[in-house]
């Protein structure tokens, strides 16, 4: 890991220390530390802290719910980008398929004429999106790098345009009265409603925790190791006997399923789905969430997703400028944290923690950089430090 001028070294070192301390803790201890964090997050909309709140300009629980859905999407996309290293610019397509599945299966506007409860819809939507992930992945995952990116971008647009053009999908007219989970608070008001997003927010946070547990286990499995191998060097992985193509499809399918899940959550809370909001811009914002937070780091992408969703909401009081502020914030954040806010160093070894403990004992502050994956993505831009003196040779920019 090369250090560069411009970043405060002491800050960087402190972050490194913290991250190594964290990595050296046992998994149970890590989860133990996480409990109060999760409790705090659950309490956040009730606490409604003064500076953080988006009120009175936009409802704070709803804002948090939207951020939570964004986080769930980012976790799903992180499997594809952060774990398997596949650049997917059409992830919104899966989100849309999830939302539309919920709409078709529960809205009275749907031509299917069925009204399934939300809990029935969720697994169906996840299976449908998973299948669509495999359908998209089978022909396209043989493509490499940015060609994959543009094909997925095309896929995302095709999904949106189909929702627009195919009459039974109702285009801009959309589907009303999509099913919500049931249940009432003791005072008789429904737990899950459009305006009181508390219930939905809690549900979203719980789903995120479950998905995180699942993803954590997946990462430590053979599948997770295969993904990292694909990400770091696909050819080497293939030569070492990893069936890269199959694992890439797995990454796509699992990522898609999480996208579909978040789509159903979104559709249920709004209660209405039409063809707006499934455009390329939204897709790029998902990508921004993952990269901003630090691809490959599950906690990082949650933070990134929170920011991407929250910043425009927080500046709702100045609607004219809020997207300008957002754009500038993206640039500045990337310049100051190019690796993402909580980024980089992922364990290359599935049992990295045990290795640390064996080598340095619990709580060791220093880990050899050889045990962490290089943050350098495949095909990184700068192989060498830019040499400012290079052009001063008499022959200038020639050969």
């Amino acid at each position: 890991m090369t250090e560069h001028s411009g970043a405060g070294p002491s800050m960087r070192e402190r972050m490194t220390t913290v991250s190594h301390w964290w990595n050296a803790q046992s998994r149970a201890a890590q989860w133990g530390y996480m409990v109060p964090v999760v409790v705090f997050l659950l309490a956040l909309p009730v606490l409604n802290p003064p500076i953080i709140t988006t009120e009175p300009y936009t409802d704070f629980p709803i804002s948090l719910f939207n951020a939570a859905v964004f986080a769930l999407i980012a976790i799903g996309l992180n499997v594809v980008i952060g774990q398997a290293g596949l650049l997917d610019l059409g992830y919104v397509g899966f989100f849309a398929i999830g939302a539309y599945t919920a709409a078709l299966l529960s809205s009275p506007d749907s031509e299917l004429g069925v009204r399934y409860p939300w809990l029935v819809i969720v697994p169906i939507a996840m299976v449908v999106t998973m299948i669509s992930g495999v359908i998209l992945g089978t022909p396209t995952l043989r493509l490499r790098g940015d060609y994959l990116a543009i094909v997925t971008l095309g896929f995302g647009e095709i999904v949106r345009l189909l929702a627009d053009n195919v009459d039974p999908l109702r285009g801009n007219r959309g589907f009303q009265n999509i099913a919500r989970p049931g249940g009432d608070f003791p005072d008789g008001t429904p737990i899950f409603s459009q305006t009181d997003a508390l219930g939905f927010y809690w549900l979203a946070v719980i789903i995120i925790v479950i998905v995180l547990l699942f993803m954590g286990n997946l990462e430590r499995s053979r599948v997770g190791r295969a993904w990292i191998a694909v990400r770091e060097d696909e050819d080497a992985a293939e030569l070492s006997g990893v069936p890269t193509y199959r694992f890439k499809i797995w990454a796509f399918a699992i990522g898609a399923a999480v996208g579909g899940l978040s789509g159903t959550l979104f559709a249920a809370q709004v209660g209405y789905v039409n063809n707006q909001r499934f455009d390329i811009t939204t897709s790029t914002l998902y990508l921004a969430a993952v990269v901003l937070g630090g691809q490959g780091n599950k906690v990082g992408v949650i933070v990134g997703a929170f920011l991407v969703s929250y910043i425009p909401d927080r500046f709702q009081f100045e609607p004219t400028y809020r997207f300008l502020i957002f754009g500038v914030a993206l640039i500045i954040l990337m310049i100051f944290r190019p690796q993402g806010l909580l980024g980089m160093r992922q364990h290359l070894l599935a049992y990295g923690r045990e290795a640390y403990q064996k080598l340095f004992g619990a709580g060791a502050a220093v880990a050899p950089s050889g045990l962490t994956a290089s943050s350098r993505a495949r095909g990184d831009l700068a192989e060498a430090e830019p040499d400012d003196h290079a052009g001063t040779s008499p022959r200038g920019g020639g050969e």
Partner: protein, 326 residues
């Protein structure tokens, strides 16, 4: 109710309009191609999808429009000027547009990308910065000029010059196709023949070695952005000539996506691929509209892209900027 099918298959219209669609597609595709060249150049050198390039193009459109205003033209009626004066004005507007876009592209590189390069940021960080820059530029234009399209200023209305297989070709189409081709040739010769062009290719091929061999990498990158910006500015002029209502803050989004699609279609990083991709995309989406209906245009474009990449995973021409002939 008279039920309308949501997708047509109108072979009759397709054949009736075949040549007209081809001509229109070539003209509109030339604009795609000019913008696509910018994507492809930057990609070739930096492996960066410059998402903000569509905004560089929009700045070119506005550069053209504001020049028209500054020259004293008013929205609405056609100006009553002799042809040489109009040509002069158009050339002037084009030069201003190229300057605006070129400078904006270089400025973008300075402000947004260079700091990242200094920090050895991972590739995706550049992509996110590009998205942020795209948001920022778009919003600045919106706040400054409002969200309505600018009032139409048109210097030359299209008028038929000759017909080919029953399809009329207009003066605007001839000018745009020829001028775009000329610009492409200049750009192509610049990259393939000039010293700076060699530098571009050297950096595209192997930045480290190129630097060691005395190529000033930073300068090459700046030139690359500049050339891409100049071409986008010219595209801005041609676009505004074709679509006089085009000067609006979000007017570059769809065209940018299409141009990027065209660049990949032809083989990203490849100048000739960008030209070919732009023209093919322009023509095929017109065919698709006649065949399936107007709302299938974009679907046809993206399906074409997916199909081409299935069979030629690196685009039609496929070779990279670095490996193109010296």
């Amino acid at each position: 109710m008279h039920a309308e099918p949501w997708i047509n298959f109108d072979v009759g219209l397709f054949f009736d309009r075949f040549w007209a669609n081809t001509i229109n597609g070539l003209a509109y595709g030339s604009i795609y191609a000019l913008v696509a060249l910018g994507y492809t150049l930057v990609y070739g050198v930096l492996q960066l999808i410059n998402f903000a390039h569509s905004e560089i193009f929009v700045l070119g459109v506005f550069g053209t429009y504001l020049t028209f205003l500054a020259l004293g033209f008013e929205p609405g009626a056609l100006p009553n000027l002799p042809l040489p004066a109009i040509i002069l004005d158009l050339v002037l507007a084009g030069l201003v547009a190229m300057a605006v876009s070129g400078l904006a592209a270089v400025g973008l590189e300075r402000v947004a990308y260079r700091p990242l390069r200094r920090r050895n940021a991972p590739r995706l960080a550049f992509l996110i910065t590009a998205i942020g820059a795209s948001f920022a530029i778009q919003q600045v234009i919106r706040i400054w000029r409002g969200s309505n399209p600018e009032g139409t200023i048109r210097l030359v209305p299209p008028s038929p010059v000759f017909t080919i297989f029953g399809a009329t070709v207009t003066n605007l189409q001839i000018v745009i196709i020829l001028a775009s081709l000329a610009m492409f040739v200049v750009a192509d010769q610049f990259v393939n023949r000039s010293r700076l062009g060699r530098g571009i290719r050297a950096v595209a091929q192997d930045p480290a070695t190129a630097t060691l061999m005395g190529v000033n990498r930073e300068r090459v990158i700046m030139i690359t952005f500049l050339v891409g910006g100049l071409l986008a500015g010219a595209a801005g002029l041609f676009y505004l000539m074709t679509i006089p209502q085009g000067a609006v803050y979000n007017g570059g989004f769809l065209l940018g996506i299409k141009a990027f699609t065209a660049a990949v279609l032809g083989g990203i990083g490849n100048l000739r691929g960008a030209l070919l991709g732009g023209l093919i995309l322009g023509i095929v989406e017109n065919y698709g509209q006649s065949l399936f209906g107007g709302d299938w245009r974009d679907v046809v474009a993206f399906v074409l892209l997916v199909l081409v990449l299935m069979f030629r995973p690196t685009g039609i021409l496929g070779e990279s900027l670095a490996r193109s002939r010296a």
